[in-house]
Structure formats: structure tokens, C-alpha cells
Amino acid sequence: MQEFKAEEILEGLQNRDTDVLDYIYRNFFNQIKVFIVQNDGTDEDAKDIYQDAILVIYQKTRKENLILSCSFNTYLYSVCRLLWLKQLEYRKLNKTIIEESAKFIELDDDVANVYRTNERYMLYQDHFKRLSYSCQKILELFLARIQLKEIARILRLKSDDYVKKRKHQCKEKLIASIKNDPRFKEIMKQ
């Protein structure tokens, strides 16, 4: 199987490269699973935490020039470790002794902040996907700064004004649907 250096992994993540994602999973997931299962978690918890950690690292590579001072394996393990400790805290399962399955580094608060933003993103995304196809398209085109006239042409809507009106309706529908989700209040409390 192809081997990747840490920089190549980060670049691959940024490009959502399937080979890189497979490589990370095959090489590093097991260690994370061992850590989580040893510390009161299940296989499913391990998969959740792994996914969350990959999304956190992806966002960090996009928002800053992430340069690792350790191996990718150690960084991923450290992110998963931090997210799992937060999860234990949330579940009120504070452990005094943590069983480690690998080396880790201390991470700054930014990782936890990115995770919280991702949680909100996932909630928004779930509701966006529930909108009608035409609503999704109109919002995407509008936010891509496509001119109203062009949107009207593409979506075969009668006028610029009508595009604006539809955009408004779709956005309000999305926001209302997000606010009605019980997860919304929960996430906003944090």
C-alpha cells in the first residue's frame, strides 16, 4: 500500500483525497479504538470520535497553515484523546486514570473551538440537505455570488425579484428548521 508523509496526509485531507482517507483509517484507527474502548467507550464511540477528529484536522488545515511538530499519528491520537476526554466530561464520567494506547501532545483550545464549530456545521448541514432541491440550488448560487439575472435564467424563475423572494423564503425555512431541532439549544448552551 502507498505510504504518505505527514505533509502529504494534510494536503490529501485538504483535497478530500480518498486514498489518503483510506490510508489514515487503515493505519491509525485501530489505536484510537483501543484508547476509547479502554476508557469506557464502545466501537461506535471510537468511530464517532475518529470522524470528528478528521473533520477538525481538515478545518484546521483549511483555516491555517497547519505544521505538525510531531507525527500525524501522534497528532490524530491527541485530537481524538482530547475529544474523548470532553465527551467523558459531558457524560459525567470523569476518570482519574486514563489508559493511553500511544504517545500524545497537549493541544491548545483551538482544537476544541473548531470541534464546536463543526458540531454546528453538521447540524446546519443536516437541515440544509432536507430542503427541496430548488431551495438548495438557489441558496448555493446566491452565496456563490452568481448574479440574480443569471440565477433566474438557470433556475427558470420569472424575475430577479422573484429570485430574491425565493432566496429569502428558503433561508428562513432553513433557519426555522435549525432552530426547531432540539440539538440546536444543546449546542448553543456549550
Binding site: T18, F29, L55, Q125, F128, R166
Partner: protein, 246 residues
């Protein structure tokens, strides 16, 4: 919060200027609820713009599902070798081999699974426009039937508007639902050849799925390869399907 949602959206879209903008900004500083609402709507916009996050999340989900299938197989193998009841194991092995032979020789199992995973009938459009009011009525009636899953009646109206690509596209979906695949292919091909409408990407996608439904594997591969080379909503899904098919 005193500000209307319209004004917040205008602010986020960059449509507030001059005095109106400065008043809005100073109110935002004072009103925490307003600031929160702006933050929420801003983040939602950022999410919609971020195709990468969507794509990565889907890929991770797929990876998770694949690993579930693989680990189930591994677990089954471990359990099998643990037992001393060799005869029972042999019998199970015959069943598995038989099942695999059936799957490999008939193939519809994997194709059906793929289709059920990826096929969803298109949402009916809520608002449609055309040059003539009469056409609008026909389209609205067609969508009414379409929403009620009465695809035969919907087709009558869609077919009466044969020059409209919206109607052509949805007639294709109706044909899929009625398992009239040749007619569906004809409708989607017309939409793709027109190439000046909203439905080209979707029509290409459905065409690939029809080939899967109709067990035309080579044509399906060809179609999904074509989609995977484009940059649109269906690109990553086409690549995923190709992984299964190849």
C-alpha cells in the same frame, strides 16, 4: 431584538450601506440577541459555501459503512474458527459459498443495493415558470400528481409539454418509477442534449442509475466515469459507485 431578519440578511449580503450600515453595526454591539442571530446566519452561509465539508463528511460516512461490512465478515470468520463443531462450520461454509456463487453469478444483489442507496426521486419544483399561462397550469397539475406518486397521471401532463425541459426531466423520473427504462433514457437524453437547462447534471446522474437498474453495467460505468470527471454535486457519489463497480 429589534431588527428584522430581512435587515440582517441585507447586512450579510453586503446590501446595507452608509448611515443605515453604521446604525446597524452600533445596534449589533448593544444587542446580544441580534449579534447571536447574525452569527448563526453567517455560519449557515459559510456552511453552504463550503462544499468540501459536505464532501468529506459523506466520504467518512461511506468509509464507516464499508468498515462495518468488513469487520462483520472478520468477526464471523473468527467465530467460525473458534467453534469445535466442524460439521456445522462446514455447513455454514457451504451456505456462504453458495450465497456468494449466487451473488456473483446473478449480480442483481449488489446493483440493487447500490440503486437503493443512491436513487431518490427528484423533489417536485415548488415554483415553475413558462411562457404561457396554460403551460403553467399543466405543469402545476403534473406536479400535483407527481407529489401524490400518481406517475401515470403526472406523465400525461408532463408529456403535453414536451418542449419544456422541466417537464421532460420529470417525465424521465416518472418513467423510472414506472420501470419504463427505455422511455426514461429517452427523456434524460433529451434534457442532456438540450444542455441549456437546470437539470443536465441530474439527468446525467439518473441516466447512470437507470443503467444500473437495467443491469447494463458497462454503460453505467461509462456514464459514472463521465460524471466523475465533472465538478458538480454528483461527482463524489459517482466516484463512490465506480469503486463498487470496478
Amino acid at each position: 431584538m429589534n431588527k428584522s431578519y430581512n435587515q440582517i440578511e441585507d447586512f450579510l449580503d453586503g446590501n446595507l450601506i452608509g448611515k443605515e450600515l453604521s446604525i446597524f453595526i452600533s445596534q449589533k454591539e448593544l444587542d446580544k440577541e441580534l449579534a447571536k442571530e447574525i452569527e448563526l446566519r453567517f455560519e449557515v452561509n459559510e456552511l453552504i459555501k463550503d462544499n468540501g465539508f459536505f464532501e468529506l463528511r459523506e466520504k467518512l460516512e461511506l468509509q464507516r459503512n464499508e468498515s462495518y461490512v468488513n469487520s462483520s465478515i472478520i468477526k464471523f470468520r473468527k467465530d467460525l474458527f473458534k467453534t469445535w463443531h466442524f460439521a456445522a462450520a462446514s455447513f455454514a461454509l457451504i451456505l456462504v459459498v453458495g450465497g456468494l456463487w449466487y451473488i456473483l453469478s446473478n449480480k442483481p444483489y449488489s446493483t440493487e443495493k447500490l440503486v437503493s442507496k443512491y436513487y431518490k426521486p427528484a423533489h417536485p419544483l415548488l415554483q415553475v415558470r413558462s411562457a404561457e399561462i396554460k403551460s403553467d397550469d399543466a405543469l402545476a397539475t403534473a406536479f400535483k400528481y407527481y407529489k401524490d406518486n400518481d406517475f401515470n397521471s403526472a406523465l400525461k401532463y408532463f408529456n403535453s409539454l414536451e418542449n419544456q425541459m422541466t417537464a421532460k426531466f420529470y417525465s424521465g423520473v416518472c418513467f423510472i418509477e414506472l420501470e419504463q427504462y427505455d422511455d426514461a433514457i429517452e427523456s434524460f437524453t433529451a434534457v442532456i442534449n438540450d444542455n441549456d437547462n437546470l437539470f443536465v447534471e441530474q439527468a446525467n446522474w439518473y441516466l447512470g442509475l437507470i443503467y444500473l437498474m437495467d443491469n447494463q453495467k458497462n454503460k453505467a460505468i461509462e456514464q459514472f466515469e463521465k460524471i466523475s470527471k465533472d465538478e458538480n454535486y454528483y461527482t463524489s457519489q459517482a466516484k463512490e459507485i465506480l469503486k463498487y463497480l470496478n
